[in-house]
């Protein structure tokens, strides 16, 4: 059995944040028909894959999964376990927003099988939270972490955003300090991205908001890596930091090019070298499941070159490129072709070579995309 990952998308939110480009909807109509559709998809794919694939991680992403009743999540977990082999030690994560949960609800999630939560705190600063149109305040954020911990969820991750317009280095440092003072094991620290179609993007285009300079962004980023490292959060991906033993199993599945089956609206799957994705719209997803027992709208078969491109990108963004494994998978022509470039990057301090691994240095992570572009 291939160890793989399972992702469940929960599209419901109580409002849309200005920087968000995920598929989400602000109503709880169709919650039950969505559950039925998910069950149908689980049925469909279990017939195809349950004999060849097992799960060692289930991840509820959104949207705002914590917006749902714990029972709703419990039913889904139970159904997956009924239809697939799920490891006893599987990591089962739930994305959570402060303000949607209290201790009791968290306890119920825990009892439903959730053993890791990822809390979308983004910032502890009132002005920044207001700017990001988050519904919570600093106290709620802190209470959410503490309640989760006391409810038995000891594997806690928080999301933070830096490089916000007008964000001073001091404010960012305070955010980081607050975060590391809490009982958490994992931090995702994202530089604010302007995504097309977001409200924020429009605000920037309209000149209402000014993004910070590249140099400032780089300063904050390098500071973040350094700060978190000093507090025992090791960088294991561009934006992800974990205490030893707490790297996210689910994310690592993506980055290590493992198979993953994703269910629900706008979910992307990658199984046996094939990639496909579901309808984004809730109604169209439900209709598709009615018709074809799955929500698939389109897919692609990735050719060797694209596969190399993805594999190297994902590996370099995270744990580094394992050259031995790479040669086993793809042969050695690509590495030979790029060896001069790789050596130069090592000389210039963007890569380090450790045994058979090529890894980014913190400076390298910062210009990762540029470096990837120059591979031939």
């Amino acid at each position: 059995m291939k160890e793989s990952a399972c992702y469940i998308h929960i599209p419901f939110c109580d409002h849309k944040c200005i920087y968000c480009d995920f598929y989400s909807i602000i109503t709880t109509d169709n919650v039950n028909s969505y559950l039925n559709a998910l069950f149908k998809e689980i049925d469909y794919y279990s017939e195809k894959y349950s004999s060849t694939h097992s799960f060692n991680t289930i991840y509820f992403g959104g949207g705002t999964p914590s917006f749902m009743e714990p029972d709703y999540i419990a039913k889904i977990i139970a159904y997956i376990k009924q239809k697939f082999t799920v490891s006893d030690y599987a990591e089962i994560s739930l994305e959570t927003n402060p303000g949607t949960v209290d201790r009791t609800k968290l306890k119920n999630f825990f009892e439903a099988g959730i053993n890791r939560i990822s809390i979308g705190i983004q910032s502890f600063d009132p002005d920044e939270l207001k700017f990001l149109t988050r519904i919570h305040d600093k106290e709620t954020a802190i209470t959410t972490v503490e309640s989760a911990y006391s409810a038995g969820l000891e594997n806690i991750s928080v999301d933070l955003i830096f490089n916000l317009p007008n964000q001073s280095k001091e404010k960012w440092q305070t955010n980081l300090e607050t975060a590391v003072s809490l009982p958490i094991k994992h931090i995702s620290a994202y530089s604010l991205i302007l995504e097309q179609g977001t409200i924020l993007n429009k605000m920037v285009l309209d000149g209402k908001v000014k993004m910070q300079s590249e140099d400032y962004d780089a300063d904050l980023y390098e500071f973040t890596i350094d700060f978190l490292c000093k507090h025992e959060f090791r960088q294991y991906e561009v934006s992800n930091f974990a205490k030893d033993g707490y790297q996210c199993v689910h994310n690592n599945a993506y980055w290590r090019y493992k198979d993953y089956l994703s269910l629900g609206t706008s979910a992307h799957s990658f199984m046996n070298g094939e990639r496909w994705w579901n309808y984004s719209s809730l109604k169209m997803f439900i209709a598709a499941v009615e018709n074809q027992n799955n929500g698939r709208v389109n897919g692609e078969r990735i050719n060797r070159l694209e596969m190399i491109e993805e594999y190297t990108m994902l590996a370099l963004r995270s744990y580094g490129l394992d050259t031995l494994e790479f040669i086993k998978l793809f042969g050695n022509d690509w590495l030979e072709k790029n060896s001069e470039y790789i050596n130069r990057l090592i000389e210039d301090g963007f890569f380090i070579r450790k045994n058979n691994f090529i890894k980014f240095t913190p400076r390298g992570y910062a210009v990762c995309d540029e470096i990837l572009l120059n591979f031939t």
Partner: protein, 598 residues
Amino acid sequence: MNQIRNFCIIAHIDHGKSTIADGLLEFTKTVSAREAKEQLLDNMDLERERGITIKSHAIKMKYLHEDKKEYILNLIDTPGHVDFSYEVSRSLAACEGALLVVDAAQGVEAQTISNLYLAIDAGLEIIPVINKIDLPSAMVDTVKSQIVDLIGCDEDDIILASAKTRAGIETILKTVVEKVPPPVGDPNAPLQALIFDSIFDAYRGAIAFIRVKNGTLRERDVIKFFATDKEFQADEIGVLGLTRVRTKELGTGDVGYLIPNAKDVHDLKVGDTITHIKGGAEKPLPGYKEIKPMVFSGLYPTNSEDYEDLRDALDKLKMNDAALLFVPETSAALGFGFRCGFLGMLHMEIIQERLEREYDQSIVTTLPNVEYYVYKKETGEKIIVDNPAEMPVIGDVEFVEEPYIKAQIVTPSEYVGNVMQLSMEKRGVYKNTTYIDPTRADLEFEFPLSEIIFDFYDKLKSTSRGYASFDYEYIGYRESDLVKLDIMLNGEPVDALSVIVHRSKSYDYGRKVCTKLKELIPRHMFEIAIQASIGNKVISRTNIKAMRKNVLAKCYGGDITRKRKLLEKQKEGKRRMKQVGNVEIPQEAFLAVLQLEE
């Protein structure tokens, strides 16, 4: 012959030449209103978009005059841009009369005057028309007196018209019949027909638009063209309605088309004379000139593999554009490409756009320049330099000459000061002022052509709030204190960015180019030094800091395809850049020097 009238319309750009033409065509039922697309005579998409007629065509109308006779009116369209002034002069040579169209709200402009002089030189009967009289801002009386002053006509001779409301359209037709003289010529004399334009038709090959001055031209006649001295057969002959109408012959005074068995337009030179091989005319009609390009620029394929495709595209364009010249050249920065000669900036832009739109070519264009005469020390040898990279080293140069033009600038008098100042900045030499009326001045300057080919017109417009207009003619070469300025990136000279500038402007220019390049060249993984130098002397420098951050923060399940596609797109973008040493230069940087505003 007595019932033929050949005429054209001359006007400043946007004064309504094309809409007047439409009005005439509609009135004479040459086309129905439904057929009359906007600006009928302008066939090319590009022309319609830019609102200017680039290539002239002709159309035949029938008009029943009140004398009960039916007249044939041949309207010959003229290009409306200074780049094509030679072609204008040949179109005028095919006519006996011209409508001088002036916008009622704009009044007489520079191009009105320069085209009028061409028409008067050609001995045409001028029929003044004030167009757009329906506009609220029309100042009919002022414009009337401007025209009276300009051509010395009687105020009552001026036709008031509106192409939009069709007012005055019939009066124009009537006046053309009454005032424009019928063609004169001898039907029994040896054939002399003037080529006033030519096009290339994908199905029929080269087609000439002609005016028969003497004699008769029939199908299957064996003919020759004086300039090329080549022999052809007249395969098809006819007149021009909305489409070509075959008539098999054209008599003295007629305007029409000729399809000889010629493979491209280079055999059909505008201004050339056609005659019969047997019993033909001894001499051509006067006025023929070889077209000479004035502006030069390097055109390079973005991807060097596309060199042959670009050559094919240029070859095809050349088939219907006799003014386009190109020769292969090599640049250290840009690889293999072509040095192209154009009539002017507009012509250059049109060629570039057509290459991109019609031939799907992705090209990098270098800064356009004029042709310089460089005289070498000791030998005194004169070399013609149309590419700054080929300029000899400063120590070997005795002196350099550059082309000059005489410019006519018409401006409301309150902007005379601004125009003067701009002209001084552009190394203009002031010559003379005359007043068209108390509020409008006609200024005469001499300029180096190089100073006016880029942004002069835009600057003139902005310094006069859009009111000043401008036209020019070429007057010859003069000595100037010119130097070659080179640009270096991390110590590597970028030959395609070299320019020849006047010494007095070189420092300012060098500084601006460095600043502009700093803006346009994206950050690299290393620092980039940008330097401007004359000879070995660096006159300006700046640098581009090394890239600090370029990484997408998020990449999870659903993002992977998207991220890969994004990287692929960015890679494609990089491929479109030109690599000099280890620096990648975006294409627009090569033309950026055109927009060197602070």
